[in-house]
Amino acid sequence: MTDTTTAPGTAPRTPRSFPTPHFTDAEAGALVFPSSGSRSFSYYTPQKMRASMYEDVTFDVQPDPERHLLQGWIYGFADGTAGYPQDWTRLRATDWHRFRDPNEEWEQTIYRNNANVVRQIQQNLANARKADAYQQWTPTWTHFVEHHVGAWMHAEQGLGMHVFVAIQRSAPTNMINNALAVNGTHKLRFAQDLALYNLDIEEQLPGFDGTAHIAAWQQDPAWQGVRETVERLTAVEDWAQAAFAANLVFEPLVGELFRSHLVMQIAARNGDFTTPSVIGAGEGDYDRDLRWTRALFELLLTDEQFADANRQVAAGWLETWLPRALDAARRLQPLWSQADEKPVRFEDSLDRAKDRLVRLLDGLGLSAPALHGTPEGDRS
């Protein structure tokens, strides 16, 4: 169809060409014929009676020769492995596809959740700026924020980029890899939240050293145990071990120890209402990340065929990672005495972190003997 209409007083326009609409009556229900009512994805079994949006947009997108992949993987690595090998972890599963992320993450949840977090943080920081909140801080607290709250950004970045983003290529199903990708996204966002918070303070508070966090992370003896543990986590090849050690050992014993049992407890008493709102975002992330982690490892540790073997492997991982994480936690002890107001003692905080870890592991049918032994490497 062409349109040659010309506005009054203007030169004739080049004829425009556009397609003609046709009414085709191609909508659902226009006719009844075989499969005319087949309006659900039939190639997988949903976890509940009705498939969720999350399952529909995630399940089987990463194919599997054990399900429908007729011709197998058509590209291989030099050593002959291809696709998503199940032996990229020592854990085994009767059916890897049973895992579902309880957070049901897909694009809308990812963006809604993270956009809400960044909006909330930015609003809090805007309020803090308006109230000159940073100016109320004591020099001791300012030092604590620039060094220690600042140092934590690196832990998040390291775990996000070189543990979770790194392993989201490695798991056997799309459901697991997406959960790992979202976990990595939380970590990277939170690392940036902390960095930009640091920048915000630097811009508002004269004398605040916006680079002090770098030296704290790389040289302060209190942080070297955390840095070492993070770096060792990035070096783990087994994707499940990396996720297990990061989310079920490091996070409760070190991450929550620092965030929940130190910063969240002492900031307000030191006249700081903004830092908890930023750190709280990381706590929210971890709650979310812990949900999928527990769901995955509950499944693997109670697997109908491989539960015993998997529990042995996980126990071995605990033997490796618990002492490391505990050592890193203990080396943080000097931080508890650095603020003017010290409403919590390190040992109480550590006990709370340990209790939490024991409950967490207990829920998975695992025990944590190393936690009750004589602390090695107590450098406090």
Binding site: P19, P21, H22, T24, A26, A28, L31, F33, P34, R39, F41, S42, Y43, Y44, D56, V57, D60, V61, Q62, P63, L69, L70, Q71, G72, W73, I74, Y75, G76, A78, G80, A82, G83, E107, Q108, I110, Y111, N114, A115, V117, R119, Q122, M161, V165, A166, Q168, R169, N177, A181, V182, T185, R189, A191, Q192, A195, L196, L199, R227, E231, R232, T234
Partner: protein, 547 residues
């Protein structure tokens, strides 16, 4: 966020990384490329604080349009001819998208540049977005389009259909083998920078012309993320070019990636645009015209050719050869004809071409009717069951083709077919370049140089081998391409849903034995094989006119 504050924020987040001293990240994915001498190049700046709200807003617009489409009864206007091809396209594309997400750690591990790592991590999230938003679009089609069959088995069909396997290269190629070959050259430098233009811009325009404005809504939203990905790829390329030893690998990989993308993407998208459209205005661009604009001018002339100033050899010959195949050798038409020949083992319906289509094709591709017109007339004549077999089993002067071992599209430009005994097996290739890809590029040594990280071509690469000697009805049943009455086929060579007698059932296709050309080729004596190959290359394979 203002530009100034974005720069400051970006500079700040560069403080996040550090050089580890206790342990270094696991080296999971090997590459033969070296980046020791590379200056660090920054990709497009992106900070997550602004990224998430921006993408959320983009999402809101997409989902608003989806609601609007349903309220506005969009499906009263969509062309079934178009929607049927979406069953294939939307079965394939979420996998390449999620594969691109999975490819990011390969690039991150290979390239020592923390700024770039951030860009690649954001790309990872984008790709998760793209995969799930496209799956959701397909779900909407399944729920609201007249014929959900094919959409309802989508990911299974993607995994067992020959066409899905062809498309799967555009995905598996991103995540396997040498990390830079896969995650940078194949994925970003060629697939994203060149071929997303036809995938995500040209094709949505055609969708809109066929009454579907949701495909453009979703895919233009997807495409708006691609510029950042292109920037990531370009940064890695510039870093790679800093080391003279990488050039040989870059040149190898550009040849492989360009040619494979051409074979696969032009086959699929060319067919969707040319044979899925009812819009036959003579002044609308053909696929060849779109290709000339988006690929030849915008990519080859504006992106690839300027790389020569860095001393990189550009595969000019292969660009020209791809154009020659599309413009002079009927590549897209032959692929569409093959898809339609194989209709019983598809999971979508294929509308026949009509007089209006013939006229359009002839005007766009002079000589089209003489070569393909009689075959499409035969296709229409044989479209209903009862008096005839499926067209592949009727004598219409069309010989079922050999499949290319490398790109897995059949060897349709018959005179160009290469036959070679490789790894103890007779293999057929659609072209010299596909033969080179298997015999030379994907090997542990390249031009005398060790390439221990290079990938391998694996799997049961000829689909027909899986069903050699089986009855067609059993094959369709095994594939699961049967409707909910247990007998009517999902695929049909027409769009007539109004009369059950016009719909093919398992009984209608039973009694036809399916043979693998590759198995047959390997069973021949040397003399039989030589004669067969000579005949194959020399045969016109044009259906004689009935008149």
């Amino acid at each position: 966020m203002s530009r100034q504050s974005l720069s400051k924020a970006h500079k700040k987040i560069t403080e996040l990384s550090w050089d580890p001293t206790f342990a270094t990240p696991a080296d999971r994915f090997a590459t033969d490329y070296r980046f020791d001498k590379a200056p660090k190049k920054d990709p497009l700046k992106q900070v997550l604080r602004s990224y998430f709200p921006m993408e959320e807003e983009k999402d809101n617009r997409v989902y608003g349009a989806m609601d609007g489409a349903i309220r506005g009864n969009m499906f009263r206007q969509v062309q079934q001819r178009w929607m049927e091809w979406q069953k294939l396209f939307l079965s394939i594309i979420p996998f390449p998208e999620i594969s691109a997400a999975r490819a990011m750690p390969m690039a991150i591990g290979a390239v020592p540049n923390p700024q770039l790592h951030n860009g690649l991590a954001v790309q990872m999230i984008d790709e998760v977005r793209h995969s799930t938003i496209q799956m959701n679009l397909k779900r909407l089609y399944m729920n609201h389009y007249i014929d959900p069959a094919g959409f309802d088995i989508s990911e299974k069909a993607f995994a067992n259909c020959y066409a899905g396997t062809i498309g799967r290269q555009f995905g598996e190629g991103f995540i396997t083998g040498d990390a830079i070959t896969a995650a940078n050259v194949y994925l970003t430098l060629v697939a994203e920078t060149a071929f997303t233009n036809t995938l995500f811009v040209a094709m949505p325009a055609e969708a809109a012309a066929n009454g579907d404005y949701l495909l453009p809504t979703v895919f233009h939203s997807v495409q708006s993320d691609e510029s950042r990905h292109i920037s990531n790829g370009y940064s890695i390329l510039l870093m790679a070019l800093a080391d003279e030893d990488n050039r040989q690998l870059l040149e190898r990989d550009l040849r492989y990636a360009w040619w494979n993308n051409h074979c696969v993407v032009d086959a699929a998208i060319g067919t969707f645009i040319e044979y899925g459209s009812k819009d036959r205005r003579k002044d609308r661009d053909s696929y060849a015209e779109m290709w000339r604009r988006w690929i030849y001018d915008d990519y080859y002339r504006s992106y690839l050719m300027p790389l020569e100033k860095y001393g990189l050899k550009i595969p000019h010959d292969l660009v020209e050869q791809a154009w020659h195949r599309i413009w002079n050798q009927g590549y897209v038409h032959k692929v569409a004809q093959f898809f339609a020949t194989g209709w019983p083992v598809n999971f979508w319906r294929i509308d026949g071409m009509t007089d209006d289509d013939f006229e359009w094709f002839e005007s766009k591709y002079p000589g089209w009717y003489a070569e393909y017109g009689a075959w499409w007339e035969a296709y229409n004549r044989l479209r209903h069951p009862g008096a005839n077999k499926p067209i592949a089993f009727e004598d219409v002067g069309y010989q079922y083709p050999h499949r290319c071992w490398t790109c897995m599209v059949p060897c349709l430009i018959r005179q160009d077919m290469v036959v070679d005994k490789v790894d103890g097996q007779w293999r057929t290739y659609c072209s010299e370049t596909c033969a080179w890809t298997d015999t030379t590029a994907f090997r542990p040594e390249y031009e005398g140089r060790a390439t221990p990280s290079m990938g391998r071509l694996t799997g049961r690469r000829e689909w027909e081998t899986c069903y050699h000697g089986q009855d067609l009805a059993d094959i369709v049943k095994d594939l699961g391409y049967v409707r909910d009455d247990g007998k009517t086929l999902v695929p049909q060579p027409h769009l007539d849903l109004d009369d059950p007698k016009k719909l093919w059932t398992l009984d209608d296709v039973r009694g036809n034995t399916f043979l693998s050309p590759n198995v047959t080729l390997n069973e021949m004596s040397d003399q039989e094989r030589a004669e067969h190959i000579a005949d194959y290359r020399g045969r016109s394979n044009v259906t004689p006119s009935m008149s």
